[in-house]
């Protein structure tokens, strides 16, 4: 098995770029920039009040010395303190070169000592894992499972797109949650902060916003495709049921996420929406209390919607998605007439 073909390198590179972008966005910090208006009188030493040394100090920010006034001449000659990413880049560059060198030495020595051809590291790793957990047989069974050719038809990609959009929503949602503050005082300002200050913040928010809309569209389209083709028929009834549940969960995602920016539209849409839930016979008032945590939309509502949006509904969605996929796997893709 050629493990390191060019295509796999491409995949790996995409993963690395995605991960790097993720870390880049989530390490947004003004650690390396001076507060504006403070250029004339920069702080000369770090403020240690975070450690509790000077609790009376007004600023709770650890400010590094500005590059133009700090005294570490050698740092500048060596190119240090240029940015947050400089040490990592340097370690990755020189570290990987060093590892390539060590690997070359070891490989040469090994082939010379054992007088046998070199066994690639990836094969060794695969053997190591397989020896302990015996996964190669079930894995190859999973990978080699025959799929009917009609599954390549364009109509069959809608469910996959929905699943992928869910992943996109997860990643961008985590990034937003890093900066979002679910309190009525801070929510609006934190959205403004995301839009204006965070690296690619407006992009992340726009992706989350538009992919949420797209997910609903694609999800409904997938459902209509299944309905028209009659793919819900025996033996796939429960797959349809789980799919409808997933659509409802997607809508709940939309409803709970809509409140989080805490602007007028969000607030009043939630007020009206929960009022409609209150019109349900028998459980109306209970539903209002559950949604609003009280009779009015308040900060508690925001906390509850945030909790639902980032913990409860995602967990439920992942569970039902797993069930959905496992059932497809078990029963195969429905055969059209």
């Amino acid at each position: 098995m050629r493990f390191f073909s060019l295509k796999r390198f491409g995949l790996l590179a995409m993963l690395v770029i995605a991960l790097g972008l993720f870390i880049f966005i989530s390490t947004h910090a003004k650690a390396n920039t001076l507060p504006t208006g403070d250029q004339s009188n920069p702080p000369t030493s770090p403020n240690w009040s975070l450690a509790g040394v000077q609790p009376s100090s007004p600023a709770l920010v650890v400010t590094p010395p500005p590059p133009n006034t700090d005294t570490c001449l050698s740092c500048h000659i060596l190119g240090q303190n240029k940015g947050l990413w400089t040490p990592l880049a340097r370690w990755v560059l020189f570290g990987s070169l060093g590892m390539v060198f060590v690997f070359g030495v070891y490989r040469s020595a090994s082939t010379w000592v054992t007088k046998s051809p070199w066994k690639p590291l990836t094969n060794r790793a695969a053997d190591w894992v397989d020896e302990r957990y015996q996964i190669s047989e079930p894995l190859s069974k999973i990978l080699n499972k025959p799929v009917p050719r009609y599954a390549l038809n364009w109509w069959y990609c809608l469910g996959g797109i929905t699943a992928f959009l869910f992943v996109v929503q997860g990643v961008t949602g985590i990034l937003l949650a890093f900066y979002y503050k679910p309190t009525p005082e801070a929510a609006y300002a934190s959205i403004q902060y995301i839009e204006s200050q965070v690296y690619f913040g407006s992009s992340i928010r726009a992706i989350h916003h538009w992919c949420a809309n797209g997910m609903i569209v694609v999800c409904v389209a997938h459902m209509l495709r299944v309905f028209i083709m009659g793919a819900y028929k025996r033996p796939r009834e429960l797959n349809w049921v789980s799919g409808v549940l997933l659509l409802i969960l997607t809508l709940v995602f939309g409803f709970t996420g809509y409140l989080l920016p805490w602007d007028q539209r969000a607030f009043w849409a939630t007020t009206v929406g929960s009022e409609i839930a209150g019109a349900i016979p028998a459980i109306g008032n209970l539903a209002i209390i559950f949604l609003r945590v009280g009779w009015n939309v308040t900060g508690e509502t925001l906390s509850r919607f945030y909790g639902l949006h980032v913990i409860v509904v995602p967990l439920a969605t992942v569970t039902f998605m797993a069930a959905h996929f496992l059932m497809i796997r078990r029963q195969g893709i429905a055969k059209p007439l």
Binding site: I142, L143, N144, K145, P146, V147, P148, R149, A151, L152, G160, I161, F164, L165, V168, P184, Y188, Q192, E195, F200, S202, S203, R205, A206, I207, H209, C211, N213, L224, F227, I228, Y232, K233, R234, W240, V241, V244, L251, F255, Y258, W262, D263, Q264, R265, A266, F267, W268, A269, T271, I276, A277, A279, I280, N296, V297, R330, Q331, G332, K335, L337
Partner: protein, 141 residues
């Protein structure tokens, strides 16, 4: 059962053929995501006025995917057959969702011919056009 079905017909392996196709689809979606990201740098989603519980705006609208339900609720008369219109406007969608939910158990005969596809397509088209019309109505009103 399904494996026997598949074994004597035209199949492709899940890996790499099916995975590759799905991967191309993913790349296509990623391209769209990238376009959204670039456009957002020029024109962000933005945020409205801060929430003010004391100041009700003139036009309160839910998200577009709830707009058709909201429109039904708005246009239903206050009292229908002695029942509050609001309750009917809430209960009917719930019943419809429940119907969709248990649909496979109601329509459990295997399909005989391809004609049924067209019947279902017509049914779906009518439903979708109704929902779209209600949504547009709700959007402009």
């Amino acid at each position: 059962m399904s494996e026997n079905e598949n074994s004597n017909e035209d199949t492709i392996p899940f890996y790499p053929d099916h995975i590759r196709t799905e991967f191309y689809v993913v790349l296509g979606v990623l391209a769209v995501v990238l376009i959204i990201a670039i456009v957002a740098m020029i024109k962000p989603v933005g945020i409205g006025e801060p929430a003010d519980p004391l100041n009700t705006p003139l036009h309160v609208k839910p998200e577009w995917y709830f707009l058709s339900l909201y429109q039904i609720l708005k246009k239903i008369p206050p009292i229908v057959l002695g029942i509050q219109g609001k309750v009917i406007g809430v209960v009917i969608p719930i019943i419809l969702v429940g119907l969709i939910f248990i649909w496979p158990f109601l329509d459990n005969k295997p399909d005989k011919s391809k004609k049924i596809y067209w019947i279902r397509l017509a049914f779906v088209s009518v439903a979708v056009i109704t929902i779209i019309a209600l949504t547009i109505w709700g959007e402009v009103s």
